[in-house]
Amino acid sequence: MIRVLFFGPVAERVQTREKQFEFIQGMKLQDVVTALSVSDPQAFDIVSFTAVNQTQVKDMQLPLNDGDEIAFMAKFSGG
């Protein structure tokens, strides 16, 4: 199972804070991005950062592991 988390403005556009994907052997981060770009294109307009297991990731070819936690995030505005 892959958990995908949404926060703040992205969660508002996806209208949920979490989606789950079945883990498939050989799955890459790009596969999740592609699936969500189709289901929630308006959310991806504002996604600036991606994290896997709480660490920022830029390489969309990153292989995923079962149980990974992914977050697609808008620009931060804390502080």
Partner: protein, 141 residues
């Protein structure tokens, strides 16, 4: 003893955080702090309330990483970072950074560096409530 980096709904006391840092060393000669507050006015609109959303596990990991980097980069004796979550209204405190060093320049420089980095790296989002409705804050480039 509270954690040196925290996300919390309740307000913070600058005096209490400074006292906690001072108890760790008598070598401290300079303590710099930055408090970010909710303004009643932003981008030309009145702001009555700010709500925060955060990715807690990643935010705490990033705050801890920033604290460690600042201690190493500026040779600090200690540092703490507290960010409020939940809701605040105009005038309320939002974020506190405290840096302690033997001398003033590293403490002041580290404090400035930490708040700049926090805004860049820590997954927290602000939603402002104004007479025109609610909207997520878009940070300036």
């Amino acid at each position: 003893m509270q954690d040196a980096v925290r996300l919390q709904t309740e307000d913070f006391s600058v005096d209490a955080e400074i006292a906690a840092l001072k108890s760790s060393s008598k070598r401290i000669g300079g303590i710099a702090t930055f408090v970010g507050c909710a303004r009643d006015f932003s981008e030309g609109r009145d702001v009555s309330r700010i709500d925060f959303d955060t990715y807690p596990a990643m935010a705490l990991a990033e705050l801890q990483r920033l604290r460690n980097s600042a201690i190493e980069k500026f040779g600090l004796l200690d540092a703490c970072i507290v960010h409020r979550i939940g809701s605040v209204t105009a005038g309320d405190n939002i974020v506190l950074i405290v840096t302690a060093a033997e001398h003033r320049a590293p403490a002041l420089n580290a404090c400035h560096w930490l708040i700049d980095e926090l805004k860049q790296c820590v997954p927290i989002w602000k939603k402002e409530t104004t007479p025109q409705g609610e909207s997520w804050v878009t940070p300036h480039p």
